[in-house]
């Protein structure tokens, strides 16, 4: 069943479908399962990379750029198209239908841009935003540190103001996309005397600076999608401090609020495809008639469908003008717990064969082995599920916070 979002959205859908039909290079279609990257963290980046290597990609990028459909959710005054979340979803759906990738600007689009739009000065907006849209500036995130996992505000990276510059020294962790980035948005402590959440500043730095070094951190999957970064006196002009010195926590929180959105109605697609692949595996292995396996697959199907239903409901709510509630945290909890279980079901279905990896150097794995292993990260990164449960309990249910411990 297709969602009825009212005549205006229907008209938008018709127009954007027309536009895509008229402009998308045929050769790009089906090259990329682009929506994989929305939630499953890293898994899918190879498909995206493949699409980006395609000769038609640049042409498609150009078309989208001309139509202001890169960062299309940004307000028109900042180079976007001012699409609301409903229209972004429709845009995503129509791209998916046409089988072409959305051209995204990663964390520049989803995190840095919104921060600059909300907290930046006109001069900062004029300088930083066009470079994100054009793809000139590619950002990676410098928030987490070895000592700060869930407790982000406990960060230790120093930012010393020296004249009209900030000099940043410290260690960051869990940076994805470091190799592709030329910029990093960093949280650092510019006022060590201030209260924990105060005294933090949000700074954009040059990631190609010689005082930046990084090394990949290998994960249990065998891949190394994250990096550990060493900032050794990196200098950035005060111009690059967003929201002013000491205001970084607020800027970062605004940012995080924008981290997920517009993907509601396409998020389930990758899981759906994965589910059917697993049923196919079960059939091939002759266990699709086993009552125990059937129960588990029916359970998994239910979870995937609920993602679809929840996405449609969220979208309908947005179309009716509802402000999003705790959906982001619930959604994160839901898919990450689901995917761990799915990985386990896949191992059950694979049985003894799951014991054996494909040959090759390093630690190559089968798709199911990788899903099983990679899924364990879902409940850890981007706010552990323990933190998500706190957020849900406090914000959606109004349960009291953990009492503050006297320091």
């Amino acid at each position: 069943m297709e969602l009825d979002l009212g005549p205006e959205v229907a008209q938008f859908r018709a127009e954007i479908r027309d536009w895509i039909g008229g402009h998308a290079p045929a050769g790009l279609a089906d090259l990329t399962d682009w929506n994989n990257v929305v939630t499953t963290g890293g898994y899918g980046s190879e498909q995206r990379a493949a699409a980006m290597r395609h000769p038609s990609y640049a042409e498609w990028e150009h078309e989208l750029s001309d139509a202001r459909l890169i960062c299309p959710q940004w307000p028109a005054e900042f180079g976007g198209n001012g699409l609301d979340a409903v229209r972004v979803s429709v845009f995503n759906e129509e791209l998916y239908r046409a089988g072409v990738p959305r051209v995204v600007r990663g964390m520049g689009e989803s995190l840095v841009g919104p921060s600059v739009i909300v907290h930046g000065t006109p001069e900062q907006q004029a300088y930083f935003l066009p470079r994100i849209i054009s793809g000139e500036d590619v950002y990676c995130q410098g928030f987490s540190e070895p000592g700060t996992g869930s407790d982000l505000a406990g960060l230790q990276t120093k930012g010393e103001v020296d004249g009209d510059e900030v000099v940043i020294t410290g260690q960051k962790l869990w940076t994805s996309g470091a190799a592709r980035a030329n910029k990093m948005f960093v949280l650092c402590r510019t006022d060590p005397a201030a209260e924990k959440h105060a005294g933090i500043s949000y700074v954009l730095i040059d990631f190609t600076d010689p005082r930046v070094s990084y090394r990949p951190v290998r994960q249990l999957t065998g891949a190394a999608e994250f990096c550990e970064d060493f900032l050794d006196g990196v200098r950035a002009p005060l111009f690059n401090v967003i929201g002013g010195l000491g205001n970084g926590w607020r800027v970062a929180m605004t940012t995080l609020g924008y981290e997920r959105g517009g993907s509601a109605s396409v998020q389930h697609l990758a899981y759906e495809r994965e589910f059917w692949a697993l049923t196919e595996t079960a059939r091939k292995r002759g266990v699709a008639a086993d009552a125990r396996i059937r129960q588990q697959l029916a359970w998994a199907y239910t979870q995937v469908e609920i993602m679809r239903f929840a996405g449609l409901r969220a979208l309908a709510g947005l179309a009716q003008g509802r402000r999003p509630g705790p959906e982001a945290s619930i959604n994160k909890l839901f898919w990450s717990e689901y995917h761990k279980r799915l990985g386990e079901i896949a191992m059950s279905i694979e049985g003894s064969d799951a014991l054996i990896r494909p040959p090759g150097d390093g630690y190559p794995t089968t798709g199911w082995q990788n899903a099983f292993l990679a899924s364990r990260a879902g409940s850890i990164y981007s706010g552990t599920n323990e933190i998500q449960r706190n957020i849900i309990a406090e914000r959606a249910l109004g349960l009291p916070k953990e009492p503050r411990v006297p320091a």
């Binding site: 969602l3 009825d4 697959l297 199907y301 239903f309 409901r313 179309a319 839901f334 009291p400």
Partner: protein, 371 residues
């Protein structure tokens, strides 16, 4: 497909909730649960005459309000939240859906207007003493005599079977299952109220000894009618379960905020707090599923068989989980008869088992998605 709740639907929800709080509060539920029919006729009539609840999803040509199942799902949710014990599911869902699905215009005209108004209580008798919810489990026979049909056999687990004025019964003929209408006072029909685990929901055993019956719809069309009714009933039951689950969660959260132990509200301890967060996830997920399933019925989508099995399985798990945790979070007081937690707990278990449990529906779901 329309999803999400419109302003009109919110008004409907508020009206039903007010009505139930006023006319069928939990104190009344407790009084009625000790009676054999569990029904306050005045409240039932008022629900029909004033709010039009029984006929909300019945087309206007049959005396209903002509709203869709999306609206009826909201009514069911509120009834479930209030543990309303009257024969709504039996009459306004099982019987009404069976009549609509039968394609029998005469039967529709004969019964639906009075079902819609609440004057007539209908039910559907399909389960027998083996307790199977499978369509094929029917053993009751229907034999044509000169004037019409005669039913012989037994039905059990019949929702409000002893209170209903009209019993629609599934019976086996030489040409397959068929649907029959039997008035409550038919000769040869013996009705026995059964004491229920969930006292707010009444069941009966019916014995048919050569009971004269009227065929509804075509001979042999009963399987298709029953399949349709069971799917819609599963979704309706899930809507009720959603309402109960939401209410039980609200109770638990409310208590966790006010109950202090060790100088803190117990809801500030992660053992309670995180559990409530997980329950909210489940209830919200169930809400998404119920809204979608209700929309599927409203649109008569071909997704109905799949989402019916899916949502009944999920709702059964979620409601039981929430209702059980509600007792645990309340501690000792939640284990008492005086506290309402056990009423939700028993309703949760009973509505899980009624129409088949989660495992049963997951097996159906597996089959229906082609596994």
């Amino acid at each position: 497909m329309i999803l999400g709740i419109t302003a009109e639907q919110e008004e409907l929800r508020a009206a039903v909730r007010r009505f139930l709080a006023d006319r069928a509060p939990i104190s009344a539920v407790r009084t009625l649960m000790d009676t054999s029919d569990g029904l306050d006729p005045a409240v039932w009539r008022q629900a029909g005459a004033q709010l039009g609840l029984q006929g909300i999803a019945i087309p206007e040509e049959y005396g209903g309000a002509g709203f869709s199942f999306a609206e009826q799902a909201i009514v069911l949710e509120e009834l479930g939240a209030a543990l309303y014990g009257g024969p709504y599911l039996a009459s306004a869902v099982l019987a009404a859906t069976a009549l609509l699905a039968s394609g029998d215009e005469a039967a529709r005209m004969a019964y639906l207007p009075s079902i819609a108004s609440g004057e007539l209580i209908g039910t559907l008798a399909f389960t027998e003493e083996d307790g199977s919810w499978d369509i094929d489990a029917t053993r009751m026979t229907a034999v044509a005599d000169g004037h019409g049909w005669r039913l012989d056999g037994r039905k059990s687990f019949v929702l409000d079977g002893h209170t209903a004025g009209l019993i629609l019964a599934i019976a086996r003929t030489g040409d397959g299952l068929s649907l029959f209408a039997v008035p409550a006072d038919a000769t040869g029909l013996t009705r026995t109220a059964l004491p229920t685990l969930d006292q707010t929901r009444k069941l009966a055993r019916l014995e048919f000894a050569s009971v004269p019956a009227t065929l509804v719809g075509a001979v042999g069309a009963g399987s298709a009618v029953l399949a349709r009714v069971l799917d819609v009933a599963a979704i309706a039951q899930a809507a009720e379960q959603l309402g109960g689950a939401q209410r039980a969660l609200d109770m638990a959260v409310e208590y966790a905020k006010v109950r202090h132990q060790f100088g803190r509200p117990i809801g500030s301890f992660q053992a309670i707090k995180h559990r409530c967060a997980d329950l909210l996830l489940e209830v919200e997920s169930l809400r998404s599923a119920v809204q979608y399933a209700a929309a599927a019925v409203a649109e008569n989508s071909d997704e109905i068989p799949v989402v019916a099995a899916l949502v009944k399985a999920y709702a059964s798990d979620v409601y039981f989980h929430v209702a059980a945790e509600n007792i645990q979070i309340h501690g000792g007081i939640g284990f008492t008869w005086e506290h309402d937690a056990h009423l939700y707990f028993k309703r949760a278990k009973a509505s899980e088992l009624f129409l088949g449990d989660a495992s049963y529906h997951r097996e159906h779901l597996a089959t229906r998605i082609g596994l």
